[in-house]
Subunit: 319 residues, 2 copies
Amino acid sequence: MASQRKRKAVWGIDIGGTYTKVGLVTETGEILASKEFSTGAKEPFAHFISNLEKEINGLLSDIEELPEIVAIGVGAPNANSLTGHIEYPPNLKWGDKIPLAVSIKEVFGLPVAIANDANAAALGHMRFGPAKGMRNFVALTLGTGLGSGIIVNGELLLGAHAMAAELGHVNVDPNGRHCNCGLQGCLETYASVTGIKRTVFELLADMTEDSPLRGISFDDMTGIMIADAALEGDPVALEAFARTGFTLGNKMADIAAHLDPEAIILSGGLSKAGDILLEPTVASMEINLFNAYRNKVKVLVYNAPSTHSVLGPAALALS
Amino acid sequence: MASQRKRKAVWGIDIGGTYTKVGLVTETGEILASKEFSTGAKEPFAHFISNLEKEINGLLSDIEELPEIVAIGVGAPNANSLTGHIEYPPNLKWGDKIPLAVSIKEVFGLPVAIANDANAAALGHMRFGPAKGMRNFVALTLGTGLGSGIIVNGELLLGAHAMAAELGHVNVDPNGRHCNCGLQGCLETYASVTGIKRTVFELLADMTEDSPLRGISFDDMTGIMIADAALEGDPVALEAFARTGFTLGNKMADIAAHLDPEAIILSGGLSKAGDILLEPTVASMEINLFNAYRNKVKVLVYNAPSTHSVLGPAALALS
């Protein structure tokens, strides 16, 4: 029918330190087209913008029946949704305050919303993912670091300076591990892919058991290797997951004492270990929960294909 | 003028384990009349309701020019604003689930809102107190325990089960002090009047210095005595405040990493110590703050006369 209303869609852009993903996403979460390209973190910011334009135009030319494209959502590390800037990103050499929102708007002439990548992921969970229908939950992204997004009453919690939800930097131990942020004992130095790797190396020093992990250098070791070793019963890897779960679960009990969430959703590289991580984490959380919350906080592991990382920024554009 | 509109007012009722305060409060926070009476925590709940009715009628008969009374707000320990019940209160022997809201409504025929006492206090801070104009802040009440209320976007944070903000029970140390709630190492076992008393007794055991506090039993010691000793330079009391501030400030940095608040407001018995508490607390918080929050979170001490405790429940009724 000629009079049929065009479907609405938005661009979702997920900027990472190494790769950027861009996708055209409908209101219902269908990814009509998507592409991954090198972020070029060490090239000038203008290169990124011109690459983004090229990739988006390439995708557009591939789509047969174009929807009505109404907005752009961008998730990026250290992106501030109030100012529209990426501020002091440790892994992007584009400057201290990068005018991301306005630069993208200039090129595409569409409304642009930006947010911290983990905040955008939380919005994606709520609109398209495991938190559909939830109005109060917390998303933890356990990757190289630990990112987080908090949803309160169905909205992203921003706080007084749009910097809420830096749960990677709650304190596990005032005399604990050194963190890239300059503090000591931050949660992400324990509960992240990098964190569990540090725990494995501590255990390789402490324990005497044989382990396939003894043959791998710090630089070469990945989260997958640790998870695989645990699945094969390696005592070092299993102890590393037990300790990681203990620390993460303890802090998840604190999160509950702040926010009384319906659920805490774990995603990112470390969460791919599934039950090996989930079981000690939930056990530790329940032991440490204040009685009002006991057996009330769902803990969900959400592993989606990496292309789905555009859904968070798309949800941001749609919200 | 005969046509002058009557002022509007609400009843604010603050139920404590020992005393209950009731006050008639105008929209602008003027307390037209107030009264304190014994809660009767060990008598039947029906006695409390009939005493409340008697006290309110007594206050009404004293007021010359009655305002238009539009609602009743009640703050009570373990009060759940969604169910209208006081649930499993440790210090009130009225039952496990006390139908507070409906019981008060039956007697007075006015709309009744109830909330956890510390949550109501946060609303009072925002409408009438030191948080006027703030939309994101945290109120910590450092009394016998540690109560808390969180305001996000100008509204009380309730969470999924209306049980948010139990910050007295975030974990300081998994092997730490035993808490009345059954957990170990809860913040309120360190940062409250009871908490600092426990720290004093630990220090009396550890240290060798003379101290006026050595002559006082655990049962007899009050927060005022510890504050007075600190003001006179007693090394035990000063060290107790230093340790309390260190622990409290560390957890306030975690609160910031969750909520990015404009301010954290300290009230209650322990906060009466003023700068002796505030200085080590702020120093510890700033050292532990993630850089995005550094020098951005105001820490305010708010000491109001005890009659002002009806302002929180009144603000709840007005909200």
